[in-house]
Amino acid sequence: MAGEKVKLLGYWASPFTLRVHWALKLKGIEYDYQEEDLPNKSPLILQCNPVHKKIPVLVHDGKPIAESLVILEYIEETWKHNPILPEDPYERAKARFWVKFVDDKCVPGIFGTFSKVGEEQRKIAKEARENLKILEGELGKKRFFGDTKIGFMDVAAAWIICWAQIVGEIVDIKLVDAEEMPSLVSWFQNVLEAAPVLKECTPPKDKLLEHNKGFHKMLVASAST
C-alpha cells in the first residue's frame, strides 16, 4: 500500500472526523489532511460527497469514501495490520451493534441535550443518561470495549465521553455521572493514555469546550429570533 495517496477531508472539531484520524493513526497510515471550512464547503467535498455534502471523506488513490463508519470498515479491510475489529463473526457483529447504538441513540441524545431547552431538554438528557448507563453495563470492568486492546467501538465511540462532559458543562446538566458510570467516565482518557498517537491528533478538551460554547451561543441566538 506504500505510495498510494490517502487524503482525509475533515473538520477539526468534528468527532466523526476524529474517528477516522484515530483509525489511520492506529494503523500507522500516512495521510494528508485537508481542513474544511464548514459553512463554505470546498468544491472537493461537494464533488467527493455529492449525496450528503458532509465531512469526513477519505480519498484513497483518487476514490472517495463517505460516512465515518463506512470509512472505518474500509480502512480495516484495506490495511489489514493492527486489526480493530475482532476475527470472530459474532464478536464483529456485537462491535458493530454497539457502535450503531452510540450513533443512533447516544449521539442524538447528547446533541439534543446541547441544542434543546426546557422540558424537552430535561427529557432528552434523562434518556441520554439512561443510554450511557447501558454502555456502562456493556463496558463493565473492562478497560476498553475491545477488552485488553483498543477495538472498533473504542475508536468509533470513546469520544462521546469527552463530548458528553463538554455538553454537560455548557448546559449545566450532568450527563456522565462518575458514581453511576465509573468505567465510562475514564474510558476516553484510558484510550488516549494507551495510544499516544491518538492523543497527538485529538484536540485538547479546553479548545473543544470554547468552540462548543461559541456554537451553543449561536444556537441559542438563532432559536430566539
Binding site: V51, I65, L69, V70, E73, P89, Y90, A93, F97, K100
Partner: protein, 220 residues
C-alpha cells in the same frame, strides 16, 4: 455447519426482516421462522434484544445478532462458502455499505411519510420519496443489480420496500412505474429470484396491513 441452530424472530411485513429471510435463502441456510406479535412481544425477543426489543433478530446457536444490515453481514461472514453478498473489493464494499446506510437513513423515513403520518404537505412527502428512488436509480445505472452482475447487499437492503409499494402508491397518490420505471424493472428482476419471491409478502396483504395501521393511528 450441520448442527447449526438458526432461528429468525421476525414480523411478516417488516422490510428489515425480509433482508434476513433473503440472505438466509441465498445461502441455503435452514432456519426456524418465529412470527412476533409486536403488540405482545415474546419473552424470547425481549431476552435476545433487550436494548431495542425489535425484530428482526437472528439467533445462531443461542447467540443473538440484532440490526438487519449487521445481521446480513454476519450471515455473509459465517456462511462464506456460498453466494457472497458483499463484493470482495474493499472500495466496492464501501460503496455497498454507503448505499445500504443511505436506504436506512433516507428511504425508510421518507417512505413512512407517504402513508403513516398526517403530512401538512403530502405533495412534498411524495416528491421527496420519488427523488430518493431516482437517486437510487442513478446508482443502479445500466447494471442488472446494485451488486453489478450479482445480486448483493444493497439489493437485499432495498428489495423488501417493494412489497410496500402498492401501499405507498395508494396513499401517496403516485405510480412508481410512471415515475421510476428503471426501479420497477430492477424490482421485478429481483422478484424472479426464489430467495426474494419466497421472502416478500403479497403487496395486497401489505396494503390491508397499512390500512389497519392507519385506522389505529386515526388517519384512515
Amino acid at each position: 455447519m450441520a448442527n447449526d441452530e438458526v432461528i429468525l424472530l421476525d414480523f411478516w411485513p417488516s422490510m428489515f426482516g425480509m433482508r434476513l429471510r433473503i440472505a438466509l435463502a441465498e445461502k441455503e441456510v435452514k432456519y426456524e421462522y418465529k412470527e412476533e406479535d409486536l403488540r405482545n412481544k415474546s419473552p424470547l425477543l425481549l431476552q435476545m434484544n433487550p436494548i431495542h426489543k425489535k425484530i428482526p433478530v437472528l439467533i445462531h446457536n443461542g447467540k443473538p445478532v440484532c440490526e438487519s444490515n449487521i445481521a446480513v453481514e454476519y450471515i455473509d461472514e459465517v456462511w462464506k462458502d456460498k453466494a457472497p453478498l458483499l463484493p470482495s473489493d474493499p472500495y466496492e464494499r464501501a460503496q455497498a455499505r454507503f448505499w445500504a446506510d443511505y436506504i436506512d437513513k433516507k428511504l425508510y423515513h421518507s417512505s413512512r411519510k407517504t402513508w403513516s403520518t398526517k403530512e401538512e404537505d403530502p405533495e412534498a412527502a411524495k416528491k421527496d420519496f420519488i427523488e430518493i428512488l431516482k437517486a437510487l436509480e442513478g446508482v443502479l445505472g445500466d447494471r442488472p443489480y446494485f451488486g453489478g452482475d450479482n445480486f448483493g447487499f444493497v439489493d437485499i437492503a432495498l428489495i423488501g420496500f417493494y412489497s410496500w409499494f402498492y401501499a405507498y402508491e395508494t396513499y401517496g397518490g403516485f405510480s412508481t412505474e410512471t415515475e421510476c420505471p428503471k426501479f420497477v424493472a430492477w424490482a421485478k428482476r429481483c422478484m424472479q429470484r426464489d430467495s426474494v419471491a419466497k421472502s416478500l409478502p403479497d403487496q395486497h396483504k401489505v396494503l390491508e396491513f397499512a390500512k389497519a395501521a392507519r385506522q389505529r393511528l386515526g388517519i384512515e
